[in-house]
């Protein structure tokens, strides 16, 4: 099982993911350049955070047209697990792989700090080793993370159990104070209807070893490893 970490011009979290795969999990992984056209050989794709194509026009708007995205979309349609974190989440929304959009934080300020996110559903390849209701301590680092969806989309997200994470207090209470960006209903992460694509604003790769203050993010990677062994 090999993790593929995508790099667009302006991506900045790829090395953190690489570090987790190489030094913490000690699994097979590789970088995938945005001008590549194939993801053959990879079992899971990661779209890391950063500012792909300078975030010009809108976050993720240009990245969705990078040559690699056709292969990513096909991989996802075939059921392959795909995770987009931060800017990766924005790209997945712009590409139409996830519903909704991410807007400027309501504070208008960049937020870089620890948050807690409560697992609302464990029914994705990335959350199967997480306990439902568990509050994970994972940092955020973004200026445009206010999740937004129209009422129809929100109704479908709820009906299909597609809200995976909400910003919460450390003990799992969903409050306005725990919401760092004004996201609709404290939404921090969602999946697609087929449940194989996860987008979240927080950075699990920055919380995968105790030295960094939390290893809760590691649960997402352990989950997908567990899932893919099960698939085989």
């Amino acid at each position: 099982m090999k993790f593929g970490v995508l790099i667009f011009p302006g991506t900045w979290s790829h090395q953190d993911f690489g570090h987790v795969f190489r030094d913490v999990l000690k699994v097979d992984w590789g970088y995938v350049w945005h001008k590549d056209t194939s993801v053959a050989g990879y079992g899971c794709l990661i779209l890391p955070g950063g500012f792909a194509h300078g975030d010009y026009l809108r976050c993720g708007a240009i990245a969705r047209f990078s040559p690699i995205m056709d292969a990513v979309i096909q991989f996802a349609r075939d059921g392959g697990p795909v995770m987009g974190s931060c800017n990766g989440f924005q790209i997945l929304c712009e590409a139409g792989l996830l519903p909704g959009a991410l807007l400027r934080n309501d504070s208008l300020q960049y937020r870089c700090r620890w948050v807690h996110i409560r697992a609302e559903s464990t029914e994705t390849p990335f959350t199967r080793t997480v306990r439902k209701g568990q509050a994970l301590k994972i940092p955020i680092s973004h200026g445009e993370g206010r999740y937004s969806a129209d009422p129809g989309m929100l109704a479908r997200l709820r009906a299909n159990d597609q809200v995976i994470f909400r910003y919460s207090t450390p003990d799992g209470a969903i409050t306005d104070e725990a919401n760092p960006n004004g996201a609709l209903e404290n939404i921090a992460g969602i999946c697609n209807e087929s449940r194989n694509i996860l987008g979240l604003m927080p950075h699990p790769e920055r919380a995968s070893e105790t030295l960094l203050g939390s290893e809760d993010g590691r649960l997402l990677f352990d989950s997908v490893l567990d899932h893919l062994v099960g698939v085989r």
Binding site: R58, C93, A101, D106, L108, S148
Partner: protein, 84 residues
Amino acid sequence: MLEAQIHVTLKRSVLDPQGDTVKSALATLGFPAVEDCRVGKFLVLRLTERDPARAKRQVEEMCRKLLANPVIEDYVFQIHEVSE
């Protein structure tokens, strides 16, 4: 030559904290008569297409596919003749 002028703004239903901040700055400056402010984008495209009807269709498609995100944004545009 044809030129397209495109305005992209957040939908009415979408909170625009930037617009709210500009509005309160204007009030602080002594312009309390501003009831609402929305901040958007203005794009100007010079087109090699010379037929206005075809240009309109193309710009419409550009807006739908890239220049605006239909989930959160509205767009309006005008196409007019400009000197080369």
